[in-house]
């Protein structure tokens, strides 16, 4: 069946901001889909609120809307664009849920939009736990015994049927959000209640536990002619009970006999047919009892998923690309296999290597959070490694993790065994230690239920960690066919082999063109996410435009950078000096790009330089000059720019000595860390002492220097991204933060162009940015952060001589690709040659808002601070700041209420400012409740405010009100450390109730203005292409 020509315009929905459970993999799949559909000659309309994605680059789709992923907004886009079809299976759960909603509210029918890929019924059959169960049973497949509960007493009744422990699974949530395991009656109320809360339809499944069984996933594809193939099998090392997203996984499956595997294969095919996904990729999860051969179906995702991204990278079979072609009518047989170009896509990849995936966690950033791994996903990223054997792949995965701190195991064996038994972020490190200490495989199997095959392999590994690496590093290709056919696509990994007489048989065909190596950013983590991958992809595109071969090195399977189409040669390798040098040895590159992958490549720069490799752009001394505070401080002095008083200390004692000269409040942190790891504000010597005890001087593992900065209170923070060619500087964007300095730049909303800075200040900022860039000798990108203090004026906080987190946002806002321009400069072009416009404004205001994962870390305080905690970002675009801010808030999931009750409690210093906010909210008709102090301050200004008890003052107190759902908006600013405890309760109550909770005055003001703006009705949607067309482009 050929391409459908009865449809012309296709709407694609992205997955929105990066959140736990829905990350960069959907940029990878969405980008592939857009490209394929454009190639096929369709008009593609894309909606995605996440600016840090390649898919939202204006050239990837015909029309691109960076707008909130909400039914009403997407409906507006549909009205405006009148697409023929909606492809909902490439934007994760978000796109599926939106598609369902738009079907249910009749929007799709009204505008004659056809769902392609998966129809409404198939989506509902897979997503509604109850219907899914029924469908499976009808198909003769076994699912865990279960019943539906809409309230806690239903759940209690269920114990009789399913027994204890049981699993709680909310309907329609991502990454198992709100789910969990109930071991005994005492946990029942909390976990079941939470699950019902989390489910948009207030429904949970109470399910028989198969904890400890083996967990397997199969990636299935089906076409319109009902041909079905299995792309890849994935086995979890962690048995059932740990979310697949949090499990260490291996592909292909290792421990099942052919008969057992074929049984899974048969069932996976039966599942996709029963659910009725017409075309595309689906993911089916099984639990297998290896002793009894029992198999139960756990779930199926009727869409591409994190696992299908992993499967694509693990096999070289581009699931999303093929899924898009299938959705527009092709059959598998009609689609050629990219890699062999000789065979069709209607086959099952044969793998002749082993792949290990490792999750990356961030618990250290959420003190107090429940750190046990359960059925509810908590990891923020992942690394993948390919080796010829399991041990090679496992060892490479270990070094791909780039941990900030080496895990330490307790000396006491019984304690160690406890840690091994409870799944946690460092479980495997403890397990390896246990094996090193010779604690038997039987004991460990019995404690962990991990299959003995893996335990044996790991035991062998610890007995001689070098053994897997005997022989020489040999570059092999990932070719989907185990070498049965010649591979045309240059996707490589290194294995260690005994060389033949003719030396190691590398499969790399280097060619004559000069090559440029681009170092990726490794596993996503908080502080280093998709933004950096975005920049690396732009670097690769530019290198190719400039007639070189782009060579990508990265180990993150979720990304566009590790799509073999992105570069001329992709090396799926850990980002360690050793592995990078291994690639350079056969690439002999013209140079290496370290500016775009965040801190990861910067850490390697010196080593690469020593090895005689050319670092393109800003040199290593400039990098060091910017990052070594003891060198950067004097540089600022020379330039006569203000910086907060600071000191660096080599030990705890030293820090305590120096603190008084710097002056409190202090911002304390270890050096060389991204995302403000372990960074805190302390208000007194005791505070500092406490910090030093908590963090120790070993924070960050590698180094021991501690930095002390005077913390500038009540300052406006400003972020600048600029280009420098060594002599000239071009300002890409000046962003004013909404939250004051002290809230990490990655976590605060920012506005471009600045909404409240005068011309002189902007000029001064531009001047100092240029001064710093030149003084550092930057060639490429630089990001400078400033704090503007009420009295003392402009201060330089830091300068990063590399691509920053805001590069994609700025590029989309101004319509000029900063990373690409930087890459041209790094390869020798001058700013003069680039001839960039002096004026980039286009009559629109863009707001970037951060998305925070607090709802997944029950127990952690949701207060913002200098340590970054957001996982993703969204962008709001409008003609005025309040509307853009309102859009950004909506996109970030914090729907500001249009009316209702606002609860205000603020620090004394904030009370005057708070009255301003209260006044406007009052005028907007909000009822205001406040704690006594705040209430009095407000009433004095003539704003009616109902006083209400603090927690200490007994019920009914504020938390009661919030829990009773009587509050629609919370504004709570903390003072020093004092108010944090009471505030903590308030904030967590708000978070669990999903009530927007604003913790800064400036945020509150913006919110009030946004609410007022929203009163003027639905903001109109506008595409990036339209905005960019309006750029004035003055030269």
């Amino acid at each position: 069946m050929p391409r459908r020509d009865d449809i012309h315009k296709i709407l694609l929905i992205g997955s929105g901001p990066i959140v736990i459970g829905q990350a960069a993999e959907f940029d990878y799949s969405g980008t592939q889909a857009c490209r394929v559909l454009m190639e096929e000659g369709y008009e593609v309309v894309l909606v995605n609120s996440n600016p840090a994605t390649i898919m939202t680059d204006p050239e990837v789709a015909t029309v691109t809307y960076v707008e909130p992923l909400l039914p009403r907004t997407v409906a507006q886009v549909i009205e405006r664009e009148q697409p023929d079809a909606l492809l909902p299976t490439l934007g994760g759960q978000t796109a599926l849920n939106l598609a369902k909603a738009l079907h249910e509210d009749g929007t799709l029918a009204k505008h004659g939009v056809e769902l392609i890929g998966a129809n409404y019924d198939a989506i509902d059959r897979a997503e509604d736990r109850e219907r899914f169960r029924q469908t499976m049973t009808d198909a003769g497949l076994r699912v865990p015994r279960s019943t539906i509960a809409h309230n806690v007493s239903d759940a209690r009744a269920a114990i009789a049927e399913v027994g204890l422990p049981f699993i709680v699974r909310p309907a329609f949530t991502l990454g198992g959000r709100g789910g969990g395991v109930v071991h005994d009656e005492t946990e029942l109320e909390r976990i079941v209640g939470g699950g019902i809360e989390a489910s948009p339809i207030g429904q949970v499944l109470i399910e028989e536990s198969v904890l400890g069984w083996g967990e397997f996933e199969l990636e299935v594809m089906r076409d319109r002619a009902d041909n079905v193939v299995i792309i890849c099998s994935i086995e979890n090392l962690d048995p059932m009970g740990v979310h697949t997203g949090d499990s260490v996984c291996v592909a292909p499956q290792q421990t099942l006999t052919d008969k057992q595997y074929q049984a899974l294969r048969d069932q996976a095919i039966a599942v996709i047919r029963a659910v009725g996904v017409e075309t595309g990729g689906s993911n089916v999860q099984f639990a297998v009892n290896r002793e009894t051969d029992e198999i139960v179906v756990i779930e199926m995702n009727p869409r591409v998923s994190r696992s299908s991204a992993l499967a694509s990278k693990a096999t070289g079979f581009p699931i999303a690309k093929i899924a898009a072609r299938l959705a527009v009518g092709y059959t598998l047989q009609e689609i050629p296999n990219d890699i062999t170009r000789a065979t069709p896509a209607s086959f099952e990849p044969a793998i002749d290597y082993c792949v290990v995936k490792w999750p990356r966690f961030a618990f250290e950033k959420f003190p107090g959070a429940e750190a046990e791994l359960t059925t509810h996903m908590k990891s923020v990223g992942e690394a993948m490694a390919i080796g010829r054997t399991f041990q090679q792949a496992f060892a490479k995965a270990l070094r791909s993790r780039e941990l900030d701190l080496e895990p330490r195991s307790p000396a006491d064996d019984s304690r160690l065994l406890e840690l091994v038994a409870v799944p946690g972020a460092e479980r495997f490190d403890h397990l390896l230690e246990a094996l090193r200490r010779g604690l038997g495989i039987d004991v460990l199997h019995q404690r962990t239920s991990i299959d003995p095959w893996f335990l044996h392999e790991l035991a062998e590994f610890v007995s001689d960690p070098q053994a897997p690496f005997t022989g020489v590093r040999t570059f092999k290709s990932v070719d989907t066919c185990a070498a049965e056919f010649a591979a045309r696509t240059p996707y490589f990994y290194s294995g260690w082999e005994r060389p033949g007489p003719a030396g190691p048989s590398h499969e790399v065909e280097r060619g004559e063109r000069p090559s440029v190596v681009i170092l990726g950013s490794g596993p996503n983590r908080i502080g280093q996410g998709i933004e950096f991958d975005y920049c690396c992809v732009h670097a690769a595109q530019t290198v190719r435009e400039l007639g070189r071969d782009a060579v990508m090195i990265n180990c993150n399977p979720e990304t566009v950078s590790t799509d073999y189409d992105t570069s001329d040669r992709l090396y799926f390798e850990p980002l360690t000096l050793e592995d990078v040098l291994g690639v350079c040895a056969i690439e002999q590159p013209e140079g290496v790009v370290v500016q775009f992958g965040g801190q990861t490549p910067l850490k390697l720069a010196a080593g690469l330089d020593e090895a005689g490799l050319q670092i393109l752009g800003t040199g290593i001394d400039s990098i060091d000059l910017a990052e070594d505070r003891s060198r950067f401080g004097p540089l600022l002095d020379r330039l006569g720019y203000k910086a907060p008083p600071y000191a660096s200390a080599s030990s705890a004692e030293d820090a305590l000595d120096r603190a008084p000269d710097v002056g409190f409040p202090l911002l304390v942190r270890p050096s060389y860390v991204l995302g403000g790891r372990a960074m805190e504000i302390v208000y007194s010597v005791d505070g500092l002492r406490g910090y030093l005890e908590r963090v120790g001087t070993g924070a960050g593992g590698r180094q021991s220097t501690i930095y002390l900065d005077r913390f500038l209170e009540d300052s406006i923070e400003v972020d600048v991204d600029a280009l420098c060619d060594g002599s000239e500087v071009w300002i890409g964007g000046i962003m004013q933060h909404v939250e004051e300095a002290g809230i990490h730049s990655g976590d605060s909303a920012c506005v471009l162009p600045p909404h409240a800075l005068g011309e002189e200040m902007l000029a001064l900022i531009a001047e100092q940015t240029a001064g710093i860039a030149k003084a550092l000798g930057v060639i490429g990108l630089i990001n400078v952060q400033f704090a503007i203090h009420g009295e003392q004026g402009l201060h330089v906080i830091e300068a990063n001589p590399r691509a920053s987190r805001t590069v994609p946002f700025v590029s989309k806002a101004i319509g000029l690709p900063l990373a690409k321009l930087a890459c041209r400069i790094m390869l020798g072009e001058t700013l003069a040659e680039l001839d960039l416009p002096r004026e980039t404004s286009n009559g629109h205001v863009c707001v970037k808002e951060a998305v925070l994962p607090f709802d997944r870390f029950a127990g952690a305080d949701s207060l913002l601070g200098p340590e970054m905690r957001s996982t993703g970002e969204v962008m709001g675009i409008a003609r005025d700041f309040p509307t853009a801010f309102a859009k950004a808030q909506a996109a970030a999931g914090a729907r500001l209420p249009g009316a209702g009750t606002v609860f205000i409690t603020v620090a004394d210093g904030d009370k005057p400012a708070a009255t301003g906010i209260a006044t406007s909210l009052h005028d907007l008709g909000f009822e205001i409740i406040a704690t006594r102090g705040t209430a009095q301050a407000l009433s004095r200004m003539g704003i009616p405010a109902r006083a209400i008890n603090k927690l200490g003052e007994g019920s009914p107190h504020v938390v009661d009100c919030i829990e009773r759902g009587e509050v629609d908006l919370v504004i709570n600013t903390p003072v020093g450390t004092g108010a944090r405890t009471d505030g903590y309760e308030i904030r967590s109550a708000a978070i669990t109730r999903g009530i927007p909770c604003i913790t800064t005055i400036s945020g509150g003001m913006a919110a009030a203005r946004a609410i007022a703006a929203a009163r003027r009705g639905e903001p109109e949607v506008i595409s990036l292409q339209e905005i960019h067309a309006r750029a004035s482009g003055v030269h």
Binding site: A225, D226, N227, V229, I230, P252, Q254, T255, L256, T257, D258, K259, Y261, Q262, R265, D266, R290, E291, L332, Q333, T343, P344, S346, F347, E348, P349, A350, I351, D352, Y353, C354, R388, T389, F390, H445, D451, P452, W453, H456, T474, K476, C481, A482, A483, E484, F485, A486, E497, R498, P499, G500, P501, S505, E507
Partner: protein
């Protein structure tokens, strides 16, 4: 455990060094590779591999040990196992179902193996140069000796290996139901084929490959089944003769070698593929339904179109005139578009080149056994 050295030497002189495992001693024959990721024991015990040494492209072999239920015949037929890495654990997979460690079992069976060589490099060499004779040799044997042993080994083309794997006397496997009676020319049948026929109620008679038409017809079976097996179909004219004496008299079905023999019997030719099809992921299109099935494959020879073409360039169920009337192309391989199946239109009979019985491999084509058995019942 330090293991002694061993090496693979190919007829063209190419050499790959590794470590020896399994039984001591050398093995020579035709070296082929299979891309199947599981089912190593099934492969080693598949009579179709007689005379061949198997390179497993999946790098780690032996993960789940060995067990009686995985045997495809009563013994190992492949002459050696060539692996990137071998696993030998009694408690493999820890499911107490594995009865022996894989490498120990190879030793028990007297089959040599080699590990720790760059199997992917070896496979790419064979892919480019074609399957060739070669051997696995302990380091004790000098390359010159080894080369002589390889020369002494007859080439696969024109080789009758059926006689080496066929039973000496007929055996009948009665079914408790009164299903059809099938007389099989046992050129080295896989147990999975017998299992699938018997699961469908058939009584199966296994006859030596030298049995003539008379002997096969003696019990008045409802159908004749031509089994899979090793070697070159062109060297089995005596079986082809027998088959010519059966076509038209009884429904005739065949798998793999059996397919090649039936095709030769109706007048078609066979030829040697460059490196054969050995794996569990080849897409085959059923031209009657238009469906693609993922198939288990294990053959070094294939059937030529009447016009001598090696590949079929249409997805149509083309019809060919044969000595026994019209034959219709029923299946083709979507990898290299070679013939995968044929149906006789004027007399009752059908065959496939691939392995619907799986063992190892996907079950997509099991429906063929229903189709065959139903047709047989209908005819009976």
């Amino acid at each position: 455990m330090s293991r002694s050295g061993a090496y693979v030497l190919l007829a063209d002189g190419t050499r790959f060094d590794g470590l020896s495992c399994g039984a001591d001693g050398a093995a020579v024959g035709e070296i082929v590779f299979t891309t199947s990721m599981s089912g190593y024991q099934e492969a080693m015990s598949d009579p179709s591999y007689a005379g061949q040494l198997i390179i497993f492209t999946y790098p780690q072999i032996g993960n789940y040990g060995v067990s009686a239920e995985a045997m495809e015949s009563d013994r190992v037929h492949a002459r050696a196992a060539i692996m990137r890495a071998g696993v030998d654990r009694e408690d493999a997979g820890g499911r107490g179902r594995s009865e022996r460690g894989w490498l120990s079992w190879l030793a028990d069976c007297g089959v040599p193996g080699i590990t720790d060589l760059d199997t992917r490099a070896l496979v790419r060499h064979i892919r480019d140069e074609g399957a060739m004779k070669g051997g696995v040799f302990p380091e004790g044997i000098s390359p010159t000796q080894a080369a002589e042993m390889i020369d002494a080994e007859p080439s696969m083309s024109g080789r009758d290996l059926a006689r080496e794997v066929t039973p000496d006397a007929p055996v009948t496997l009665e079914a408790d139901t009164d299903g059809p009676r099938i007389a099989m020319i046992d050129t080295g049948v896989k147990l999975s084929i017998i299992r699938n026929l018997r699961e469908r109620g058939a009584t199966v008679e296994l006859h030596p490959c030298t049995a003539g038409a008379q002997q096969l017809l003696r019990s008045d079976p409802d159908a004749i089944f031509l089994a899979n097996g090793p070697g070159d179909p062109a060297a089995l004219d005596y079986i082809v003769e027998t088959v010519r004496g059966l076509v038209g008299k009884k429904p005739v079905y065949g798998i793999c070698l059996g397919h090649q023999l039936l095709c030769r019997a109706v007048g078609l030719e066979t030829y040697k593929l460059p490196f054969g099809h050995h794996g569990a992921n080849h897409p085959v299109k059923d031209l009657t339904t238009g469906r693609t099935e993922i198939t288990s494959q294990n053959h070094g020879f294939a059937v030529l179109a009447p016009d001598g073409a090696r590949t079929i360039d249409t997805d149509e169920a083309v019809r060919w005139e044969t000595d026994f009337g019209t034959a219709e192309l029923s299946h083709i391989n979507l990898y290299d578009r070679t013939v995968e199946g044929l149906t006789l239109k004027d007399v009752q009979g059908a065959t496939v080149q691939y392995h619907p019985e799986a063992g190892p491999g996907p079950h997509d084509a099991l429906y063929l056994f229903d189709r065959f058995v139903d047709e047989i019942k209908a005819a009976a």
